[in-house]
């Protein structure tokens, strides 16, 4: 029994090393005194200082965050309503439509990117607009929506069908039923979808590359363009900061959830005690 246990421990440790070693190397070299990615030559905070002076990196970070936040929020709203629509459809309609919804998820990014770019360029020539922040945002919303639908659907299947009728029996209008009964019940699915959509947007390079036009550039595009002259350690620095922010957010979310969970257990115990 103990032997099996240590084996499992070693396996888990190796998994964590495999997952986190690259990030640790990245963080360590963000403090390296020179530009080298292989030789350690002393501790410095210069790259962090330079990072905040680099207007190009800062503006592309801003573009990335702005487009990801807006796109994932809009996609969450559209995706949730689409999922509710799918849920209320007859099955012989729902299945093929859900299959179509899955295509963009499994489709190669490059195909999505090129086809969106062709669409925008030809529509732009007709209607007189150019590729820019708007087209970038539309592209992001369009590839974010399927992820929201995919994470909201299971929550809807778990929903008690009677809930909807009960709410309407008790005098809710259709809109109130959705807003006050359905949405709160499927909220965890929406939040999940939102977070997945957000990470997908931050990650994306290929689709952004084809749809961003001449005035905006996301962080991944900036990094890609550095490859002739070597990627600057400023990129390590900004990645470290982003990683730290995500880590802190995760810790906060988990601590809060644990606290809420404890409070609920306490409440239940107290209720039982009074009975």
């Amino acid at each position: 029994m103990t032997k099996k246990y240590t084996g499992g421990k070693i396996f888990a440790a190796l998994t964590y090393v495999f997952l986190y070693a690259p990030i640790i190397v990245l963080i360590v070299f963000s403090f390296n005194a020179t530009k080298s990615r292989t030789i350690w030559s002393g501790f410095t905070l210069d790259w962090y200082r330079e990072l905040f002076h680099d207007s190009l990196i800062m503006s592309s970070l801003q573009t990335t965050l702005l487009v990801s936040v807006i796109a994932s929020l809009i996609a969450a709203v559209i995706g949730t309503f689409a999922a509710i629509g799918f849920y209320n459809m007859k099955k012989n309609w729902r299945s093929p439509l859900l299959l179509v919804n899955n295509i963009p998820v499994v489709n190669a990014d490059i195909i999505t990117g090129v086809s969106l770019s062709l669409l925008f360029v030809s529509a732009g020539a007709l209607m007189g607009f150019q590729l820019g922040f708007g087209t970038l945002l539309i592209a992001h919303i369009s590839f974010d929506i399927p992820y929201v639908i995919l994470s909201v659907m299971p929550k809807l299947y778990q929903l008690d069908r009677n809930l909807f009728e009960a709410a309407q029996d008790l005098g809710c209008t259709w809109f109130q039923t959705v807003y006050k009964v359905i949405i709160p019940e499927i909220m965890p699915g929406i939040i999940n979808g939102l977070l997945i959509a957000f990470t997908m947007s931050v990650d994306d390079f290929v689709i952004s590359y084809f749809t961003a036009g001449s005035s905006v550039q996301t962080l991944s595009m900036t990094i890609y363009a550095m490859t002739r002259r070597r990627i600057s350690p400023k990129i390590n620095a900004i990645s470290t900061l982003l990683f730290a922010v995500v880590l802190i957010l995760l810790v906060i979310v988990n601590v809060r959830e644990a606290r809420q969970h404890k409070a609920e257990i306490k409440k239940e115990k107290m209720l039982k005690g009074t009975n």
Binding site: T34, K35, S36, R37, T38, I39, S41, F52, H53, D54, S55, L56, I57, M58, S59, L61, Q62, L65, L66, V69, S117, F120, V121, G124, A125, Q130, L131, M187, P188, I191, L194, L195, F210, G213, S214, S215, V216, Q217, M221, T222, Y224, A225, M226, T227, R228, R229, R230, I231, S232, V245, L249, I252, V253, R256, E257
Partner: protein, 346 residues
């Protein structure tokens, strides 16, 4: 859950706000600039915005060919682009550039005369040089001995220590130059000979690389490879063993120059930007940041560098006389390049 959600949103909004605080207020329109990645001191952009009130939308690319395909794809409107010599002649051939109004670019008089009337823009109508430099061999003499010829890159005794450019134009140029031909050759037998040479070289190479060459030469993982003079200085700071030479057969001298695209929406702003970047103070700051050589003739005397750096950044006239710059090749030859490169790498 609602609360955690709002915490996340607040945090993200704060970051957005925070990252935006560098932006300055600008009122005199915009200029869309498309340049190589890591190829500008970004303080200059801020300085330009503050001085002129023109907002700079700055975007970057990683190769001439990538920039070309983005321009061809359409739907974009760049004003200033900064391609290399041979790409400029291609863009001129395809009527994609706008002639410059040099009345708006008084700093053009500061450009070194040897960089004017170049083969890619013989009448000086479309371009203002931005940076220039040479390609040479970077090597570690303790491993491969002294080097003065391209032959070292094809020598079996250096097997496993050699790096080579990972793009067809530069790789072929080296092979052609080693064989004693022009790097702009269109002659089929010469091209075939060069291709055969590269094919023989492939088994003794450690690899075809671009920016990985920095780490490989700095750490001693490889000992010899061709790259840009300005980038040699960066590598030398890490690994002082490394030496640089422009081979006796001659090499490539490149010029990256600023051009305005045909039908640019902000031509006046574009010319203001070009003029600004050509100024002595700005061009010097840029040269110090990038490590490549400024085309501004005042910079050579003013720039604060040691003799060693100077010898790499400003090669003597005799060396330069042996160097060639790339010109645009006919479509037939470009197709040959593509075909042979695919064959070579597969």
């Amino acid at each position: 859950m609602k609360k955690t959600f709002s915490v996340v949103i607040c945090a993200v909004m704060l970051i957005c706000l925070f990252s935006g605080c560098g932006g300055s207020k600008t009122t005199n329109g915009v200029v869309n600039v498309y340049n190589w990645g890591e190829y500008i001191d970004t303080d200059l952009i801020t300085q330009f915005e503050n001085e002129t009130g023109i907002k700079v939308n700055y975007k970057t690319y990683e190769s001439n060919e990538q920039m070309y395909s983005v321009l061809k794809q359409g739907g974009v409107s760049y004003d200033v682009i900064i391609p290399s010599d041979y790409m400029i002649s291609r863009l001129i051939d395809e009527d994609m550039l706008e002639p410059l109004n040099f009345d708006n670019i008084p700093n053009y008089s500061l450009i070194d005369d040897s960089l004017k009337s170049m083969a890619y823009d013989p009448d000086n109508t479309y371009s203002v040089p931005y940076m220039w430099g040479t390609i040479g061999i970077i090597y570690d003499p303790t491993v491969v001995g002294e080097v003065d010829s391209w032959s070292a890159l094809f020598d079996e005794k250096n097997e496993g220590n050699i790096l080579m450019f990972d793009n067809s134009r530069d790789a072929m140029a080296i092979a052609l130059k080693y064989l004693g031909y022009s790097m702009n050759s269109t002659d089929e037998t010469e091209l075939n000979e060069a291709y055969e040479l590269l094919k023989q070289q492939k088994p003794i190479l450690q690899g075809y690389v671009m920016d990985q060459i920095f780490d490989k030469l700095e750490s001693g993982e490889a000992a010899i490879g061709p790259y840009y003079a300005g980038d040699y200085l960066t590598m030398h700071a890490e690994n002082p063993n490394l030496k640089f030479c422009i081979p006796k057969e001659g090499s490539n001298v490149f010029v990256d120059a600023m051009c305005v695209l045909k039908n640019a929406e902000n031509k006046d702003n574009a010319e203001a930007f070009i003029n600004f970047m050509s100024g002595t103070e700005q061009s010097m700051a840029n040269s110090e940041y990038i490590g490549y050589t400024s085309p501004n003739k005042e910079v050579e005397d003013l720039i604060d560098i040691d003799d060693f750096t100077r010898s790499v950044m400003y090669p003597d006239d005799a060396t330069l006389a042996k160097c060639e710059s790339y010109i645009n090749l006919p479509q037939e030859t470009l197709d040959y390049y593509d075909e042979m490169w695919v064959k070579l790498k597969s």
